[in-house]
Protein backbone atom coordinates (compact mmCIF):
# COMPACT_ATOMS: atom_id res chain seq x y z
CA UNK A 1 0.00 0.00 0.00
CA UNK A 2 1.23 3.50 -0.81
CA UNK A 3 0.16 6.45 1.35
CA UNK A 4 1.11 10.02 0.48
CA UNK A 5 0.98 12.59 3.29
CA UNK A 6 0.91 16.23 2.21
CA UNK A 7 2.77 18.40 4.68
CA UNK A 8 3.06 22.16 4.90
CA UNK A 9 5.97 23.98 6.49
CA UNK A 10 4.71 27.06 8.34
CA UNK A 11 6.15 29.71 10.65
CA UNK A 12 5.74 28.43 14.22
CA UNK A 13 2.28 29.67 15.27
CA UNK A 14 3.42 29.53 18.91
CA UNK A 15 5.91 32.33 18.28
CA UNK A 16 5.07 35.64 20.01
CA UNK A 17 2.25 37.45 18.24
CA UNK A 18 4.50 40.49 17.82
CA UNK A 19 6.63 38.45 15.39
CA UNK A 20 3.78 38.55 12.89
CA UNK A 21 2.92 41.81 11.18
CA UNK A 22 1.13 42.81 8.02
CA UNK A 23 2.35 44.54 4.88
CA UNK A 24 -1.01 45.98 4.02
CA UNK A 25 0.06 47.30 0.61
CA UNK A 26 1.35 43.89 -0.47
CA UNK A 27 -1.52 42.15 1.38
CA UNK A 28 0.97 39.76 2.92
CA UNK A 29 1.79 38.58 6.42
CA UNK A 30 5.38 39.45 7.35
CA UNK A 31 7.08 37.00 9.68
CA UNK A 32 10.10 38.04 11.74
CA UNK A 33 13.24 36.16 10.75
CA UNK A 34 13.57 34.94 14.35
CA UNK A 35 10.45 32.76 13.98
CA UNK A 36 11.41 29.14 13.41
CA UNK A 37 9.63 26.98 10.87
CA UNK A 38 7.64 23.96 11.87
CA UNK A 39 5.37 21.34 10.36
CA UNK A 40 1.77 22.61 10.37
CA UNK A 41 0.30 20.89 13.42
CA UNK A 42 -2.61 19.14 11.72
CA UNK A 43 -0.19 17.62 9.20
CA UNK A 44 1.63 15.92 12.08
CA UNK A 45 -1.69 14.27 12.96
CA UNK A 46 -2.08 13.30 9.29
CA UNK A 47 1.36 11.68 9.45
CA UNK A 48 0.30 9.81 12.58
CA UNK A 49 -2.86 8.60 10.82
CA UNK A 50 -0.80 7.32 7.89
CA UNK A 51 1.58 5.54 10.25
CA UNK A 52 -1.35 3.95 12.11
CA UNK A 53 -2.37 2.37 8.79
CA UNK A 54 1.24 1.40 8.05
CA UNK A 55 1.39 -0.27 11.50
CA UNK A 56 -1.28 -2.78 10.50
CA UNK A 57 -0.98 -3.13 6.72
CA UNK A 58 2.16 -5.02 5.65
CA UNK A 59 4.35 -3.58 2.90
CA UNK A 60 3.06 -0.04 3.29
CA UNK A 61 5.17 2.86 2.12
CA UNK A 62 4.46 6.35 3.43
CA UNK A 63 5.66 9.17 1.18
CA UNK A 64 5.71 12.78 2.33
CA UNK A 65 5.02 15.57 -0.14
CA UNK A 66 5.60 19.23 0.67
CA UNK A 67 5.16 22.29 -1.51
CA UNK A 68 7.02 25.45 -0.50
CA UNK A 69 9.81 27.82 -1.30
CA UNK A 70 12.22 27.61 1.63
CA UNK A 71 12.11 24.11 3.04
CA UNK A 72 14.14 23.52 6.20
CA UNK A 73 15.35 19.93 6.01
CA UNK A 74 15.04 19.25 9.76
CA UNK A 75 11.45 20.42 9.64
CA UNK A 76 10.19 18.58 6.56
CA UNK A 77 12.04 15.44 7.67
CA UNK A 78 10.07 15.28 10.93
CA UNK A 79 7.45 12.91 9.41
CA UNK A 80 10.32 10.69 8.27
CA UNK A 81 11.72 10.64 11.81
CA UNK A 82 8.26 9.55 12.97
CA UNK A 83 8.36 6.62 10.54
CA UNK A 84 7.57 7.78 7.00
CA UNK A 85 9.75 6.44 4.20
CA UNK A 86 10.26 8.94 1.38
CA UNK A 87 10.26 12.69 0.86
CA UNK A 88 9.20 14.70 -2.19
CA UNK A 89 9.67 18.47 -2.23
CA UNK A 90 8.18 20.84 -4.76
CA UNK A 91 10.14 24.07 -4.43
CA UNK A 92 8.66 27.05 -6.17
CA UNK A 93 7.93 30.44 -4.66
CA UNK A 94 5.27 31.31 -7.21
CA UNK A 95 3.37 28.07 -6.69
CA UNK A 96 3.68 28.30 -2.92
CA UNK A 97 2.27 31.81 -2.95
CA UNK A 98 -0.67 30.93 -5.14
CA UNK A 99 -4.29 30.60 -4.09
CA UNK A 100 -5.82 27.35 -2.92
CA UNK A 101 -6.77 26.30 -6.43
CA UNK A 102 -3.27 26.81 -7.81
CA UNK A 103 -1.73 24.89 -4.91
CA UNK A 104 -4.18 22.02 -5.31
CA UNK A 105 -3.29 21.82 -9.01
CA UNK A 106 0.43 21.72 -8.21
CA UNK A 107 0.01 19.04 -5.53
CA UNK A 108 -2.19 16.94 -7.79
CA UNK A 109 0.42 17.17 -10.54
CA UNK A 110 3.17 16.17 -8.11
CA UNK A 111 1.13 13.22 -6.87
CA UNK A 112 0.61 12.02 -10.44
CA UNK A 113 4.35 12.24 -10.95
CA UNK A 114 5.08 10.30 -7.74
CA UNK A 115 2.96 7.47 -9.10
CA UNK A 116 0.11 5.20 -8.03
CA UNK A 117 -1.25 5.74 -4.53
CA UNK A 118 -3.92 4.20 -2.32
CA UNK A 119 -4.39 6.98 0.20
CA UNK A 120 -3.60 10.65 0.52
CA UNK A 121 -3.64 12.11 3.99
CA UNK A 122 -3.51 15.78 4.96
CA UNK A 123 -4.18 17.94 7.99
CA UNK A 124 -7.68 19.36 8.18
CA UNK A 125 -6.38 22.92 7.75
CA UNK A 126 -3.02 24.67 7.81
CA UNK A 127 -1.83 26.56 10.86
CA UNK A 128 -1.15 29.77 8.93
CA UNK A 129 -4.11 30.18 6.57
CA UNK A 130 -6.72 27.97 8.27
CA UNK A 131 -8.57 27.54 4.98
CA UNK A 132 -9.10 23.78 4.76
CA UNK A 133 -9.55 23.85 0.99
CA UNK A 134 -6.51 22.35 -0.70
CA UNK A 135 -6.91 18.65 0.18
CA UNK A 136 -10.48 18.63 -1.07
CA UNK A 137 -9.28 20.20 -4.29
CA UNK A 138 -6.57 17.57 -4.70
CA UNK A 139 -9.25 14.87 -4.37
CA UNK A 140 -11.48 16.55 -6.93
CA UNK A 141 -8.60 17.02 -9.40
CA UNK A 142 -7.50 13.39 -9.01
CA UNK A 143 -11.08 12.18 -9.23
CA UNK A 144 -11.08 10.29 -5.93
CA UNK A 145 -13.41 10.56 -2.91
CA UNK A 146 -12.56 12.81 0.02
CA UNK A 147 -13.46 12.42 3.69
CA UNK A 148 -12.55 15.30 6.01
CA UNK A 149 -11.83 15.85 9.71
CA UNK A 150 -11.07 12.26 10.65
CA UNK A 151 -10.61 11.63 14.37
CA UNK A 152 -10.09 7.87 13.89
CA UNK A 153 -8.81 5.96 10.86
CA UNK A 154 -8.84 2.22 10.30
CA UNK A 155 -8.80 -0.17 7.38
CA UNK A 156 -12.02 -2.12 6.88
CA UNK A 157 -11.14 -4.77 4.34
CA UNK A 158 -10.05 -2.79 1.29
CA UNK A 159 -11.83 0.39 2.38
CA UNK A 160 -10.59 3.19 4.64
CA UNK A 161 -12.98 3.87 7.49
CA UNK A 162 -13.01 7.05 9.53
CA UNK A 163 -14.89 8.67 12.39
CA UNK A 164 -15.65 12.35 11.99
CA UNK A 165 -17.15 14.73 14.52
CA UNK A 166 -20.48 16.15 13.40
CA UNK A 167 -22.82 18.50 15.23
CA UNK A 168 -24.42 16.01 17.59
CA UNK A 169 -22.07 13.08 17.64
CA UNK A 170 -19.78 11.08 15.45
CA UNK A 171 -20.37 9.79 11.92
CA UNK A 172 -18.55 6.67 10.82
CA UNK A 173 -18.07 6.60 7.05
CA UNK A 174 -15.80 4.76 4.67
CA UNK A 175 -14.39 5.08 1.18
CA UNK A 176 -13.03 2.68 -1.38
CA UNK A 177 -9.39 3.27 -2.23
CA UNK A 178 -7.86 5.37 -3.56
CA UNK A 179 -9.15 8.22 -1.43
CA UNK A 180 -8.16 11.45 0.29
CA UNK A 181 -8.60 11.75 4.07
CA UNK A 182 -8.03 14.91 6.11
CA UNK A 183 -7.18 14.47 9.77
CA UNK A 184 -8.06 16.45 12.88
CA UNK A 185 -6.20 16.74 16.16
CA UNK A 186 -8.73 14.68 18.12
CA UNK A 187 -7.04 11.66 16.51
CA UNK A 188 -4.77 11.51 19.57
CA UNK A 189 -1.19 12.30 20.40
CA UNK A 190 1.14 11.72 17.44
CA UNK A 191 4.08 9.44 18.08
CA UNK A 192 7.45 10.95 18.86
CA UNK A 193 10.42 10.64 16.59
CA UNK A 194 12.70 7.87 17.75
CA UNK A 195 16.48 8.12 17.66
CA UNK A 196 16.46 5.37 15.06
CA UNK A 197 13.87 7.29 13.06
CA UNK A 198 15.93 10.46 13.22
CA UNK A 199 19.02 8.58 11.98
CA UNK A 200 17.03 6.96 9.18
CA UNK A 201 15.52 10.32 8.19
CA UNK A 202 19.00 11.80 7.85
CA UNK A 203 19.89 9.22 5.25
CA UNK A 204 16.84 9.94 3.10
CA UNK A 205 17.62 12.04 0.05
CA UNK A 206 14.54 14.04 -0.88
CA UNK A 207 13.35 14.13 -4.46
CA UNK A 208 13.23 17.82 -5.34
CA UNK A 209 11.11 19.20 -8.16
CA UNK A 210 10.42 22.68 -9.43
CA UNK A 211 7.43 23.95 -11.33
CA UNK A 212 9.10 23.02 -14.60
CA UNK A 213 9.32 19.38 -13.50
CA UNK A 214 5.57 19.17 -13.09
CA UNK A 215 4.84 18.67 -16.76
CA UNK A 216 1.27 17.66 -16.14
CA UNK A 217 0.54 20.89 -14.31
CA UNK A 218 -2.64 22.33 -15.69
CA UNK A 219 -2.63 26.07 -16.02
CA UNK A 220 -4.97 27.46 -13.46
CA UNK A 221 -5.74 31.12 -13.09
CA UNK A 222 -6.35 32.41 -9.58
CA UNK A 223 -10.00 32.19 -8.61
CA UNK A 224 -9.85 34.79 -5.88
CA UNK A 225 -8.36 38.27 -5.56
CA UNK A 226 -7.01 39.55 -2.25
CA UNK A 227 -8.66 42.85 -1.39
CA UNK A 228 -7.25 43.64 2.04
CA UNK A 229 -5.22 42.17 4.88
CA UNK A 230 -5.06 43.92 8.23
CA UNK A 231 -4.80 43.54 11.98
CA UNK A 232 -8.21 44.04 13.53
CA UNK A 233 -8.27 46.84 16.07
CA UNK A 234 -9.00 45.84 19.60
CA UNK A 235 -10.73 48.48 21.65
CA UNK A 236 -9.79 47.49 25.15
CA UNK A 237 -12.10 48.96 27.74
CA UNK A 238 -11.96 46.24 30.34
CA UNK A 239 -13.07 47.14 33.83
CA UNK A 240 -10.61 45.53 36.24
CA UNK A 241 -12.27 44.67 39.54
CA UNK A 242 -9.83 45.29 42.38
CA UNK A 243 -10.11 44.24 46.01
CA UNK A 244 -7.99 44.11 49.13
CA UNK A 245 -6.65 40.79 47.88
CA UNK A 246 -7.41 38.26 45.16
CA UNK A 247 -10.22 36.60 47.14
CA UNK A 248 -11.83 39.94 47.85
CA UNK A 249 -11.67 40.79 44.15
CA UNK A 250 -13.41 37.47 43.43
CA UNK A 251 -16.25 38.41 45.80
CA UNK A 252 -16.57 41.87 44.28
CA UNK A 253 -16.65 40.35 40.80
CA UNK A 254 -19.55 38.11 41.81
CA UNK A 255 -21.42 41.12 43.19
CA UNK A 256 -20.70 43.20 40.10
CA UNK A 257 -21.89 40.48 37.71
CA UNK A 258 -25.04 40.08 39.78
CA UNK A 259 -25.68 43.86 39.68
CA UNK A 260 -25.30 43.71 35.91
CA UNK A 261 -27.73 40.75 35.92
CA UNK A 262 -25.15 38.68 34.07
CA UNK A 263 -24.97 35.74 36.47
Amino acid sequence: MHIIVTVKQVPDPEAPQSSFTVDRAAKKVVVASSVPSTVSDMDVYATEAALLVKDVVPDTTVSVLSLGDSHVMDVVKRPLAMGADALYLVQDAELAGGDAMAIAHALAAAIRKIGPFDLIMAGRQSADLDQGIVATGVAMLLGVPVMTNAVRVAMNGDAIQIDRIVDDGIDTIEAKLPAVVTVSNELGQPRYATMRGIMAARRVDPTVWSRADLETLESSEALTTPVDLFEPEKSSNVEIIEGENAADAGRLLAQRLRTERLI
Binding site: D168, I170, T172, D228, A247, L253, A254
Partner: protein, 334 residues
Protein backbone atom coordinates in the same frame (compact mmCIF):
# COMPACT_ATOMS: atom_id res chain seq x y z
CA UNK B 1 -24.28 30.06 -17.10
CA UNK B 2 -25.14 33.68 -17.69
CA UNK B 3 -27.79 35.76 -15.95
CA UNK B 4 -26.80 34.84 -12.40
CA UNK B 5 -28.82 36.59 -9.75
CA UNK B 6 -29.43 36.53 -6.02
CA UNK B 7 -28.10 34.37 -3.22
CA UNK B 8 -28.50 30.64 -2.63
CA UNK B 9 -28.00 29.15 0.82
CA UNK B 10 -27.64 25.49 1.70
CA UNK B 11 -29.90 24.53 4.63
CA UNK B 12 -28.83 22.06 7.28
CA UNK B 13 -31.12 19.78 9.23
CA UNK B 14 -30.46 17.57 12.24
CA UNK B 15 -31.15 13.81 12.31
CA UNK B 16 -34.71 14.42 13.49
CA UNK B 17 -35.30 16.67 10.48
CA UNK B 18 -35.34 20.00 12.36
CA UNK B 19 -33.55 22.96 10.79
CA UNK B 20 -30.21 23.63 12.42
CA UNK B 21 -29.64 27.16 13.72
CA UNK B 22 -27.03 27.82 10.99
CA UNK B 23 -29.87 27.78 8.44
CA UNK B 24 -31.44 30.88 9.98
CA UNK B 25 -28.02 32.54 10.26
CA UNK B 26 -27.29 31.94 6.56
CA UNK B 27 -30.72 33.24 5.56
CA UNK B 28 -30.10 36.42 7.58
CA UNK B 29 -26.74 36.92 5.85
CA UNK B 30 -28.28 36.17 2.45
CA UNK B 31 -31.14 38.62 3.04
CA UNK B 32 -28.65 41.43 3.74
CA UNK B 33 -26.69 40.58 0.58
CA UNK B 34 -29.76 40.27 -1.64
CA UNK B 35 -31.10 43.60 -0.40
CA UNK B 36 -27.84 45.31 -1.30
CA UNK B 37 -28.01 43.68 -4.75
CA UNK B 38 -30.96 46.00 -5.40
CA UNK B 39 -33.56 43.58 -4.19
CA UNK B 40 -32.49 40.30 -5.76
CA UNK B 41 -33.94 37.16 -4.29
CA UNK B 42 -32.85 34.62 -1.70
CA UNK B 43 -33.19 30.95 -2.48
CA UNK B 44 -32.44 27.95 -0.31
CA UNK B 45 -31.50 24.35 -1.03
CA UNK B 46 -33.18 21.96 1.39
CA UNK B 47 -31.46 18.60 0.93
CA UNK B 48 -32.29 15.59 3.08
CA UNK B 49 -34.70 12.80 3.82
CA UNK B 50 -38.25 13.81 4.69
CA UNK B 51 -37.30 17.50 4.75
CA UNK B 52 -40.00 18.79 2.36
CA UNK B 53 -42.23 19.65 5.33
CA UNK B 54 -39.65 22.19 6.49
CA UNK B 55 -39.84 24.34 3.35
CA UNK B 56 -42.36 26.78 4.86
CA UNK B 57 -40.10 27.24 7.89
CA UNK B 58 -37.23 28.15 5.56
CA UNK B 59 -39.47 30.72 3.87
CA UNK B 60 -40.47 32.11 7.28
CA UNK B 61 -36.77 32.64 8.03
CA UNK B 62 -36.23 34.68 4.86
CA UNK B 63 -36.13 32.54 1.69
CA UNK B 64 -38.10 33.53 -1.42
CA UNK B 65 -37.72 30.16 -3.13
CA UNK B 66 -36.94 26.80 -1.55
CA UNK B 67 -35.52 24.05 -3.74
CA UNK B 68 -36.34 20.76 -2.08
CA UNK B 69 -34.20 17.70 -2.78
CA UNK B 70 -35.96 15.06 -0.69
CA UNK B 71 -34.76 11.49 -1.03
CA UNK B 72 -33.77 8.69 1.36
CA UNK B 73 -30.28 8.79 -0.15
CA UNK B 74 -29.74 12.16 1.58
CA UNK B 75 -30.49 10.91 5.08
CA UNK B 76 -26.84 11.28 6.04
CA UNK B 77 -24.30 13.73 4.72
CA UNK B 78 -21.78 12.44 2.21
CA UNK B 79 -20.04 14.84 -0.18
CA UNK B 80 -20.48 12.32 -2.94
CA UNK B 81 -24.27 12.70 -2.80
CA UNK B 82 -24.68 16.25 -1.48
CA UNK B 83 -22.36 17.90 -4.03
CA UNK B 84 -24.42 16.69 -7.05
CA UNK B 85 -27.61 17.66 -5.23
CA UNK B 86 -26.29 21.17 -4.58
CA UNK B 87 -25.17 21.42 -8.20
CA UNK B 88 -28.64 20.39 -9.41
CA UNK B 89 -30.17 23.19 -7.31
CA UNK B 90 -27.55 25.68 -8.48
CA UNK B 91 -28.46 24.96 -12.09
CA UNK B 92 -32.06 25.92 -11.41
CA UNK B 93 -31.48 28.82 -9.03
CA UNK B 94 -28.50 30.22 -10.95
CA UNK B 95 -27.26 32.38 -8.04
CA UNK B 96 -24.48 34.93 -7.98
CA UNK B 97 -23.50 33.88 -4.46
CA UNK B 98 -23.72 30.56 -2.59
CA UNK B 99 -23.53 30.59 1.22
CA UNK B 100 -22.87 27.42 3.22
CA UNK B 101 -22.44 27.01 6.98
CA UNK B 102 -18.89 26.47 8.19
CA UNK B 103 -20.11 23.38 10.02
CA UNK B 104 -18.55 19.91 10.09
CA UNK B 105 -20.37 19.03 6.87
CA UNK B 106 -20.38 22.50 5.30
CA UNK B 107 -16.61 22.84 5.53
CA UNK B 108 -16.39 19.74 3.33
CA UNK B 109 -19.25 20.71 1.01
CA UNK B 110 -18.01 24.28 0.39
CA UNK B 111 -14.58 23.52 -1.08
CA UNK B 112 -15.96 20.44 -2.89
CA UNK B 113 -18.61 22.54 -4.55
CA UNK B 114 -16.10 25.27 -5.36
CA UNK B 115 -13.76 22.89 -7.13
CA UNK B 116 -16.61 21.15 -8.95
CA UNK B 117 -17.91 24.53 -10.18
CA UNK B 118 -14.34 25.70 -10.88
CA UNK B 119 -14.81 28.79 -8.75
CA UNK B 120 -13.18 30.34 -5.68
CA UNK B 121 -14.21 29.68 -2.10
CA UNK B 122 -13.79 31.68 1.09
CA UNK B 123 -13.96 29.41 4.15
CA UNK B 124 -14.94 30.26 7.74
CA UNK B 125 -16.10 33.68 6.56
CA UNK B 126 -17.09 36.06 9.35
CA UNK B 127 -18.57 38.82 7.20
CA UNK B 128 -20.04 38.93 3.70
CA UNK B 129 -20.79 42.09 1.74
CA UNK B 130 -21.56 43.13 -1.79
CA UNK B 131 -18.96 45.44 -3.33
CA UNK B 132 -21.05 48.29 -4.73
CA UNK B 133 -18.70 48.88 -7.67
CA UNK B 134 -18.41 45.30 -8.92
CA UNK B 135 -21.69 43.96 -7.56
CA UNK B 136 -19.72 40.90 -6.43
CA UNK B 137 -19.19 39.28 -3.07
CA UNK B 138 -16.42 40.39 -0.76
CA UNK B 139 -15.73 37.96 2.07
CA UNK B 140 -13.84 38.68 5.29
CA UNK B 141 -12.24 35.92 7.31
CA UNK B 142 -9.66 35.46 10.02
CA UNK B 143 -6.20 34.21 9.28
CA UNK B 144 -3.27 32.93 11.35
CA UNK B 145 -5.63 31.80 14.05
CA UNK B 146 -7.45 35.11 14.21
CA UNK B 147 -4.43 37.40 14.28
CA UNK B 148 -5.31 39.04 10.98
CA UNK B 149 -8.35 39.72 8.85
CA UNK B 150 -8.33 38.95 5.16
CA UNK B 151 -10.81 40.32 2.66
CA UNK B 152 -11.22 38.45 -0.61
CA UNK B 153 -13.04 39.09 -3.86
CA UNK B 154 -13.93 36.44 -6.41
CA UNK B 155 -12.96 36.17 -10.06
CA UNK B 156 -15.66 33.83 -11.33
CA UNK B 157 -19.34 33.24 -10.68
CA UNK B 158 -20.83 31.89 -8.53
CA UNK B 159 -19.00 33.19 -5.47
CA UNK B 160 -18.94 30.55 -2.73
CA UNK B 161 -18.40 31.20 0.98
CA UNK B 162 -18.73 29.05 4.07
CA UNK B 163 -19.94 31.26 6.91
CA UNK B 164 -18.60 31.14 10.48
CA UNK B 165 -21.15 29.77 12.93
CA UNK B 166 -22.91 32.47 14.99
CA UNK B 167 -21.50 35.24 12.77
CA UNK B 168 -25.06 36.32 11.92
CA UNK B 169 -28.20 36.41 14.02
CA UNK B 170 -31.17 34.61 12.51
CA UNK B 171 -34.27 36.70 11.90
CA UNK B 172 -37.39 35.95 13.92
CA UNK B 173 -39.47 33.53 11.82
CA UNK B 174 -42.32 35.33 10.07
CA UNK B 175 -45.08 32.79 9.43
CA UNK B 176 -46.84 35.26 7.13
CA UNK B 177 -43.94 35.34 4.63
CA UNK B 178 -44.74 33.66 1.33
CA UNK B 179 -42.45 31.98 -1.13
CA UNK B 180 -42.18 29.36 -3.80
CA UNK B 181 -41.35 25.69 -3.23
CA UNK B 182 -39.69 23.81 -6.11
CA UNK B 183 -38.98 20.09 -6.02
CA UNK B 184 -35.68 19.13 -7.62
CA UNK B 185 -34.79 15.63 -8.75
CA UNK B 186 -31.05 15.38 -8.20
CA UNK B 187 -30.94 11.85 -9.67
CA UNK B 188 -27.84 10.75 -7.78
CA UNK B 189 -26.83 7.20 -8.62
CA UNK B 190 -25.90 5.60 -5.29
CA UNK B 191 -24.82 2.32 -6.90
CA UNK B 192 -21.66 4.02 -8.21
CA UNK B 193 -20.78 5.53 -4.83
CA UNK B 194 -17.18 5.32 -3.65
CA UNK B 195 -18.09 6.40 -0.11
CA UNK B 196 -20.54 4.82 2.28
CA UNK B 197 -22.25 5.94 5.48
CA UNK B 198 -21.68 3.31 8.18
CA UNK B 199 -23.22 4.62 11.40
CA UNK B 200 -23.94 7.63 13.57
CA UNK B 201 -23.10 7.64 17.26
CA UNK B 202 -24.78 10.19 19.47
CA UNK B 203 -22.42 11.65 22.00
CA UNK B 204 -24.24 12.17 25.27
CA UNK B 205 -23.78 15.65 26.68
CA UNK B 206 -23.80 16.11 30.43
CA UNK B 207 -25.77 19.13 31.47
CA UNK B 208 -26.60 21.87 29.00
CA UNK B 209 -25.26 21.89 25.44
CA UNK B 210 -22.42 24.38 25.21
CA UNK B 211 -23.73 26.13 22.09
CA UNK B 212 -27.08 26.73 23.81
CA UNK B 213 -25.76 27.79 27.20
CA UNK B 214 -26.27 31.35 28.46
CA UNK B 215 -23.05 31.08 30.44
CA UNK B 216 -19.91 29.27 29.35
CA UNK B 217 -17.13 28.77 31.88
CA UNK B 218 -13.84 27.98 30.23
CA UNK B 219 -10.57 26.90 31.75
CA UNK B 220 -7.11 27.19 30.27
CA UNK B 221 -3.80 25.49 30.80
CA UNK B 222 -3.28 27.76 33.82
CA UNK B 223 -5.78 25.64 35.77
CA UNK B 224 -3.02 23.07 36.04
CA UNK B 225 -5.09 19.96 36.80
CA UNK B 226 -8.20 18.00 35.98
CA UNK B 227 -9.38 18.52 39.59
CA UNK B 228 -9.60 22.24 38.90
CA UNK B 229 -12.05 21.47 36.10
CA UNK B 230 -14.30 19.90 38.73
CA UNK B 231 -14.61 23.37 40.31
CA UNK B 232 -15.66 24.76 36.95
CA UNK B 233 -18.30 22.05 36.68
CA UNK B 234 -19.59 23.01 40.13
CA UNK B 235 -19.85 26.64 39.05
CA UNK B 236 -21.58 25.56 35.83
CA UNK B 237 -24.12 23.55 37.79
CA UNK B 238 -24.80 26.56 40.04
CA UNK B 239 -25.30 28.97 37.18
CA UNK B 240 -26.92 26.74 34.59
CA UNK B 241 -23.83 27.08 32.42
CA UNK B 242 -21.60 24.77 30.42
CA UNK B 243 -17.90 24.08 30.81
CA UNK B 244 -15.40 24.64 28.00
CA UNK B 245 -11.65 24.41 27.64
CA UNK B 246 -8.81 25.76 25.58
CA UNK B 247 -6.91 23.43 23.31
CA UNK B 248 -3.87 23.76 25.61
CA UNK B 249 -5.92 22.51 28.56
CA UNK B 250 -7.40 19.65 26.55
CA UNK B 251 -3.99 18.67 25.17
CA UNK B 252 -2.70 18.63 28.77
CA UNK B 253 -5.52 16.14 29.43
CA UNK B 254 -7.15 18.22 32.15
CA UNK B 255 -10.45 17.56 30.36
CA UNK B 256 -11.88 15.87 27.29
CA UNK B 257 -11.16 17.08 23.74
CA UNK B 258 -14.91 17.33 23.12
CA UNK B 259 -15.28 20.55 25.15
CA UNK B 260 -12.47 22.37 23.37
CA UNK B 261 -13.40 25.86 22.12
CA UNK B 262 -11.49 27.59 19.35
CA UNK B 263 -10.55 27.52 15.73
CA UNK B 264 -10.12 23.73 15.86
CA UNK B 265 -12.92 23.21 18.36
CA UNK B 266 -16.40 24.41 19.06
CA UNK B 267 -17.81 27.88 18.53
CA UNK B 268 -19.92 29.54 21.20
CA UNK B 269 -21.48 32.98 21.65
CA UNK B 270 -23.05 33.02 25.09
CA UNK B 271 -24.29 35.98 27.09
CA UNK B 272 -21.42 35.50 29.56
CA UNK B 273 -18.08 33.89 28.80
CA UNK B 274 -16.09 33.35 31.98
CA UNK B 275 -12.46 32.82 30.95
CA UNK B 276 -10.38 31.36 33.74
CA UNK B 277 -6.58 31.03 33.62
CA UNK B 278 -6.45 31.26 29.86
CA UNK B 279 -4.33 33.75 27.95
CA UNK B 280 -6.74 34.46 25.12
CA UNK B 281 -4.63 33.26 22.20
CA UNK B 282 -6.22 34.20 18.91
CA UNK B 283 -6.78 30.51 18.04
CA UNK B 284 -8.95 30.25 21.13
CA UNK B 285 -10.72 33.57 20.66
CA UNK B 286 -11.88 32.42 17.22
CA UNK B 287 -14.27 30.12 19.08
CA UNK B 288 -15.70 32.65 21.57
CA UNK B 289 -15.26 36.16 20.20
CA UNK B 290 -19.00 36.39 19.55
CA UNK B 291 -19.69 36.24 23.28
CA UNK B 292 -21.67 39.22 24.58
CA UNK B 293 -19.70 39.67 27.83
CA UNK B 294 -16.29 38.16 28.40
CA UNK B 295 -15.15 38.05 32.02
CA UNK B 296 -11.53 37.13 32.66
CA UNK B 297 -9.67 35.84 35.68
CA UNK B 298 -5.93 35.66 35.06
CA UNK B 299 -2.85 36.39 37.10
CA UNK B 300 -1.01 37.95 34.17
CA UNK B 301 -2.22 41.56 33.78
CA UNK B 302 -0.74 41.58 30.26
CA UNK B 303 -2.75 38.53 29.12
CA UNK B 304 -4.50 39.15 25.83
CA UNK B 305 -7.82 37.99 27.27
CA UNK B 306 -8.16 41.28 29.18
CA UNK B 307 -8.11 43.19 25.89
CA UNK B 308 -11.19 41.22 24.83
CA UNK B 309 -13.02 41.37 28.16
CA UNK B 310 -15.64 43.59 29.75
CA UNK B 311 -14.74 42.67 33.32
CA UNK B 312 -11.56 41.23 34.71
CA UNK B 313 -9.79 40.24 37.89
CA UNK B 314 -6.01 40.09 37.96
CA UNK B 315 -5.11 37.33 40.36
CA UNK B 316 -4.50 33.65 40.91
CA UNK B 317 -7.70 31.78 40.14
CA UNK B 318 -7.02 29.52 43.12
CA UNK B 319 -7.75 32.50 45.37
CA UNK B 320 -10.26 34.32 43.19
CA UNK B 321 -12.53 31.46 42.16
CA UNK B 322 -13.45 29.95 45.57
CA UNK B 323 -14.37 33.42 46.87
CA UNK B 324 -16.32 34.12 43.69
CA UNK B 325 -18.28 30.87 44.04
CA UNK B 326 -18.86 31.44 47.75
CA UNK B 327 -20.18 34.94 47.13
CA UNK B 328 -22.54 33.65 44.44
CA UNK B 329 -23.84 31.11 46.96
CA UNK B 330 -24.40 33.92 49.48
CA UNK B 331 -26.26 35.97 46.91
CA UNK B 332 -28.59 33.06 46.17
CA UNK B 333 -30.23 32.40 42.83
CA UNK B 334 -30.64 35.29 40.49
Amino acid sequence: MAGESGVLIICETDPSGELRSITGELLAAARTLADSMSGESVSAALIGRGVAAKAQEVIALGADTVYVVDDPIFEHYLSETFVPAAIAVREQANPKVILIGHTPNGRELGPSLGFRLDTGVSTDTTEVNIDPSSGGLVAARSLAGGLFRQVTAFNRLPHVATVHMKAYDAAEPDAARTGQVVNVDASVDASQAQTRFVSHTEVAVEGIRMEDARIVITGGRGLGSSEAFDDLTKLADMTGGAVGATRAAADSEYCGQDIMIGITGRVVSPEVYLAIALSGASQHMAGCSGSKNIVAINRDPEANIFKESRFGVVGDYQQVLPAFIEELENLGTA
